[in-house]
């Protein structure tokens, strides 16, 4: 009986590795996802049969089947209805369910361990499962609320203070308990840590700002993975350890990649701080040039090589479908139109690519930042749509700027830049954008979608 369980788990582990490995190419990724999903079904089914005996009460079986069926159906239903712009909060929500599952498992394990057990290692593992599970569950719920626009950022000092005190107590209490200084039963200690962790998860994500959300989602994803792995250690279950560690390691790597792309240290993101710009006022009023709609359309029709740099503003304005139509028009004229995407464009890493894919834009026209920068001087015209900080040349030129050092798309090296913007408001970093002063840059004010629709209309008339 144990033999087929071990072989089945091995197959599932291999399917997870294959699934993640195939994610490195868009053509194979969908197949990889299916393989991983099959491996998951295999793991759940063989675990069921391995634990099944005739003695299992029918109540348990009924509950199990209802939970399995209900969860699978609701998950499928929700995944079909979600809009692609809502993907970041959706991923957060499902991350919360994974963390919640690990947390509840930890609590039940704790109950079963009872009062007499003095095995310190198991106790530490269970408490760690509960801490990480609760942190992932509540943290992801707060992240969900923020991304969905329900919760606001709370940056006041009391929130940050509360979060530090909670973190300190989560470290302190286990030390006291295992030294025997905390006179409490294991259950009391467990519930105390549970409550602290739930509060910490809440206060931990609350002060983190909008543009730092990609880092937080990625980090919470990793925490869920770690929690899963810890649960696996408690039950000595290889598939849970392997799956959890893969997700944890991958999530932590991705978190550091995000931080690097934003030139932010993980510590600063977590502390919820942002270096304020020192000498914003010194440079005086910005002298900008405006460009008219028809002029933009005219320039587009003459340009042989055009790039679009999209930001979250484009997704908010739902302008990606108009972009696809404009692209079709440009391609029909045998000119070139590419998209250059900053690694942290959108509300989660790679979000912008999904939005463009949804608009049926072929991924071969999508360039990553480095590739785009290499051939930037060849572009006749660059349209910046709803992006701001990621095209600010101050990141390269101005050592005093708070965005200095952040990798940017160097659109200022193109022959001509047109920035589509609603107003002259600054971006998330709150820094003035030196790009707008440059002689090769013009501004086109208005809603991205309406503006692009007008441009398309004019292009067709030319």
């Amino acid at each position: 009986m144990i033999a087929y369980l071990e072989i089945g788990y091995l197959l599932s582990t291999l399917s997870f590795i294959t699934g993640l490995k195939f994610m490195s190419h868009p053509k194979k990724a969908n197949l990889g996802n299916k393989i991983a999903a099959l491996g998951m079904i295999l793991a759940v089914v063989i675990s069921f049969f391995a634990a099944y005996t005739k003695q299992i009460p029918s109540t348990n079986l009924v509950l199990l089947l209802v939970a399995l069926g209900g969860g699978a159906w609701i998950g499928r239903y929700m995944s079909k209805r979600v809009a692609m712009t809502e993907m970041p909060q959706f991923v957060s929500l499902f991350n919360a369910t994974g963390g919640g599952c690990a947390m509840l498992l930890g609590i039940v394990e704790g109950h079963r361990l009872g009062l007499d057990n003095r095995d310190a290692l198991t106790q530490v593992l269970i408490i760690s499962t509960i801490v990480t599970g609760a942190l992932a569950a509540i943290g992801s719920m707060v992240a969900y609320g923020k991304l969905a626009g329900i919760t606001k950022d709370q940056k006041n000092a009391s929130v940050i203070y509360a979060s530090r005190v909670l973190l300190a107590s989560i470290i302190l209490f286990p030390v006291l308990y295992h030294l025997g200084a905390l006179q409490a039963s294991f259950m009391m200690y467990l519930y105390l840590i549970l409550a602290l962790s739930l509060f910490y998860g809440f206060f931990f994500v609350l002060p983190i700002g909008g543009a730092d959300m990609p880092v937080v989602i990625s980090l919470l994803n990793a925490v869920t993975g770690i929690s899963t792995a810890l649960t696996g250690f408690v039950g000595d279950n290889k598939i849970m350890m392997a799956g959890g560690i893969f997700v944890g390691a991958a999530g932590i790597l991705l978190t550091f990649m995000m931080c690097k792309a934003m030139n932010r240290s993980l510590f600063k993101v977590l502390a919820g701080t942002f270096k304020k710009a020192g000498n914003v006022e010194d440079k005086g009023v910005q002298v900008i040039q405006e460009i008219s709609l028809s002029e933009t359309a005219l320039q587009m029709s003459f340009a042989r090589k055009i790039a679009i740099v999209p930001g979250y503003g484009m997704a908010v304005a739902q302008a990606q479908h108009v972009c696809a139509q404009i692209q079709q028009y440009i391609l029909d004229k045998e000119s070139e139109l590419n998209y250059i995407i900053h690694p942290v464009a959108g509300r989660m890493p790679g979000h912008m690519n999904v939005l463009l894919a949804e608009a049926n834009i072929d991924y071969q026209f999508i360039k990553e930042m480095d590739e785009g920068n290499e051939e930037m001087s060849q572009y006749d015209l660059v349209l910046v749509i709803g992006a701001n900080d990621v095209v600010n040349p101050a990141a390269i030129n101005d050592e005093n700027s708070s965005v200095y050092g952040m990798p940017i798309i160097s659109v200022h090296q193109a022959k001509k830049v047109v920035v589509l913007k609603r107003s002259m408001n600054t971006g998330y970093a709150g820094v003035r954008n030196d790009l707008f002063d440059l002689p090769n840059c013009s501004m086109l004010f208005g809603d991205a979608k309406t503006t692009l629709e007008e441009i398309l209309k004019q292009l067709k008339m030319i």
Partner: protein, 102 residues
């Protein structure tokens, strides 16, 4: 040290898993980072395996734990199902129709 010696096999297992986890995603292009995160999220739903096993071992009169474990199974399956279905939906949108222009 004694602990390490007793669990050497486990230590190897953990170290290898960490390396595999880092290696397999190091080459994923930025274009696929969202599906990658969503797919990894679905894989962390493997915690359901533990919840299923747990629910089957509980006594049917242990109402508190039974309730908690049932919710755990429900949440875990929700994670798996939602995660894989939505990743599939995203990935099916990434397609290339035209031949690359020279």
């Amino acid at each position: 040290m004694e602990f390490l010696n007793q669990n050497l096999e486990l230590v190897y297992f953990v170290v290898f898993c960490v390396f595999i986890g880092i290696e397999i995603i190091a080459n994923v292009p930025a274009i696929l980072h969202t599906p990658l995160m969503s797919g990894a999220n679905a894989i962390s739903g493997v915690v359901t395996v533990g919840a299923v096993t747990m629910l089957m071992q509980l006594s049917s009169s242990d109402y508190l734990n039974l309730t908690l474990a049932t919710i755990a199974v429900f949440l875990g399956v929700l994670n798996i199902s939602g995660g894989f279905f939505v990743t599939g939906r995203m990935l099916s949108m990434f397609k290339t129709n035209q031949k690359p222009k020279s």
